[in-house]
Amino acid sequence: MSIADEEHAEELAGVEKIGTPSRLKVVAGRFFRSGQGRIGFALLVAMFLLAFAGPHLNKWSYTDKDFSAFLAPPSAEHWWGTLQTGADVYAVTLRGMQKSLIVGLLAAVVGTGLAAVVGAFAGYFLGWTDRTLMWVTDLLLVLPAFLILAIMSPLFAEGQWLLFVLMLALFLWMVTSKIVRSMTISLKEREFIHAARFMGVHPMKIIFRHVIPNLSSLLIVDATLNVSAAILTETSLSYFGFGIQPPDVSMGSLIADGAKTAVYAPWTFWFCAGLLIVTVLAVNLVGDSLRDAFDPTARRNR
């Protein structure tokens, strides 16, 4: 039976054409049906709005110092109080959040991209390529990331935060690339890859056109979860003064300052720490729900 015949047979049988919803719609539908996904998404949107629109509502900027109010509690003048230096907590916290969100997002995207490319190359070519790439992966897993980033921290001064993002990404991809590698090995034996290879398609094209798009669900979930990992690493580094360098601020440096005065001036610590926790929580919730939404076998009775 040819295809035309089949269509004809369908018509004969009186079966109505069933519109197949696009994959994006299916996944989005599943994602927003879970309460966890809705909460996470709403929180994340709120955090982004607060970080990028919030500063415009306030008359203080993050570089301003109010010399009439040192370590003042929250008031109408300073919504979230002030720090020991007279800086407005609301302004510096939102500035720190902007930095943390941007650094986290960029590092996660770069890291996941690197994982996809390294894993797919190792799994597709195998042999020496595989051995070399996996050895490098093992080496980076063994190197203490915190230490390397901390040593290189002097280089991140003077607005070189993009370099910081790259270094952060360099230590985020190893575990994912191992998963991508093993998935590529099994994907390589599938008919459509064979077909492409026998038609003489260039291996590079096969990897970027056929292999990596087929792993997109894993990569999207991984990129989301990497955002929270990157934010946590960035915060810890900045806490010890190894990350974002002054005069710029980040959540980590703010928490380090706030922790010193937290006992008698709680507003210096809790606003910043609370927002950081909510942000990471939101990212994790979104990532977890995305994983469930992409997984056709996941149990969905929540």
Binding site: L139, L141, A150, S153, P154, L232, F242, A262, L285
Partner: protein
């Protein structure tokens, strides 16, 4: 099998050597020990500084590769060089090693065992109250960075201690300096100091393992062999512990190797914030003081520890999974 093991160990040794060398090169290139002698009053003559730096093998006027060879020659004989303060790195780190290992071991055992038990119980009672509470709590804990968690614990402890006539937990150090009293008084004092760092270290682990173990356990609980085990007359408890938990532990053990690196970093933060004089504290301090030799020695230790963890996870895997032993 022996050949495989040998190749594996050889690969590990090569990885440790390369990782440590890389860390040394980076540290020697990026850190500036000369800065330690600048800005003093009266200023130290440059010749004296040079002589001192050369003595410590930290002089940036010597080519990097030459310094590396001198350092590597020492390491080959088990000598990690001298700290910027003059004492040998080996002695200092040997003292700190005990502190760190005690913290890691207690935190790791407490964290992984509690986490696995919480996760397994949550899976058995899926969607029950315990399951919901533990899932929510672990999501919350996973969102708190160690540095924030440690500070939150300190704030809470200060508040609790203020309410009580006598402090019950201490927020800083390993033991009270100059505390006298018998063995029991000393032991209680140490436990009071140990509580907070241990919580700070193991809470994250509990969250990770309980999430992971719950998912694995849920996959296993629906499997045929559990039904068979109960059908042949095993009690539910025996079937769950002997068959389900053991099978579900295998992926968690594999996961152990990956979390160990994160655990080391967590220990670093915990030690630094709680003022324990361990390796992690020294890591942060040595970067502040441009102590290249200490940095290299600590990264060697970290690489070694990660590889031991991965070896341990392989061994545990073989113990739990009979297929690995046969194959």
């Amino acid at each position: 099998m022996a050949g495989f093991l040998f190749r594996r160990l050889l690969n590990y040794v090569v990885l440790i050597v390369v990782a440590t060398s890389l860390a040394y090169m980076l540290a020697a290139g990026a850190l500036n020990p000369r800065a330690n002698y600048e800005g003093r009053n009266p200023p130290i003559p440059p010749a004296v500084v040079d002589a001192r730096l050369t003595e410590l093998n930290l002089n940036d006027k010597t080519p990097l590769f030459e310094r590396y060879l001198t350092w590597a020659g020492g390491v080959a004989h088990g000598d990690f060089g001298t700290m910027v303060t003059g004492g040998p790195v080996n002695e200092d780190l040997a003292r700190r090693l005990g502190v760190t290992l005690r913290l890691i071991t207690i935190g790791l055992v407490l964290g992984s065992v509690t986490g696995v038990l919480v996760g397994a119980y949550a899976a058995v009672r899926q969607y029950g109250a315990f399951d919901r509470v533990s899932t929510g709590a672990s999501f919350f804990v996973l969102a708190i960075p160690t540095v924030v968690l440690a500070n939150m614990l300190i704030i809470a402890a200060v508040w609790v201690n203020g309410l009580l006539p006598q402090p019950i937990v201490y927020v800083s150090g390993e033991f009270s300096a100059g505390s006298t009293g018998g063995f029991w008084a000393q032991a209680v004092d140490r436990v009071q100091h140990l509580i907070l760092p241990t919580i700070s270290l193991s809470l994250g682990l509990i969250a990770v393992y309980s999430r992971y173990q719950r998912n694995m356990m849920l996959d296993v609980l629906g499997a045929d062999f559990i039904r068979t085990a109960m059908a042949k007359g095993l009690r539910r408890r025996t079937a769950l512990i002997k068959h389900a938990l053991r099978t579900a532990l295998i992926p968690a053990v594999t996961y152990f190797a990956f979390t160990f690196g994160a655990l080391l970093v967590g220990t670093t933060f915990t030690e630094k914030i709680f003022g324990w004089h361990g390796m992690g504290e020294q890591l942060v301090n040595s970067i502040y003081t441009n102590d290249v030799n200490s940095v290299a020695a600590i990264s060697c230790f970290a690489a070694f520890a990660v590889l031991v963890a991965s070896l341990a996870s392989d061994v545990l895997h073989a113990v739990l999974d009979p297929r690995v032993r046969v194959g």
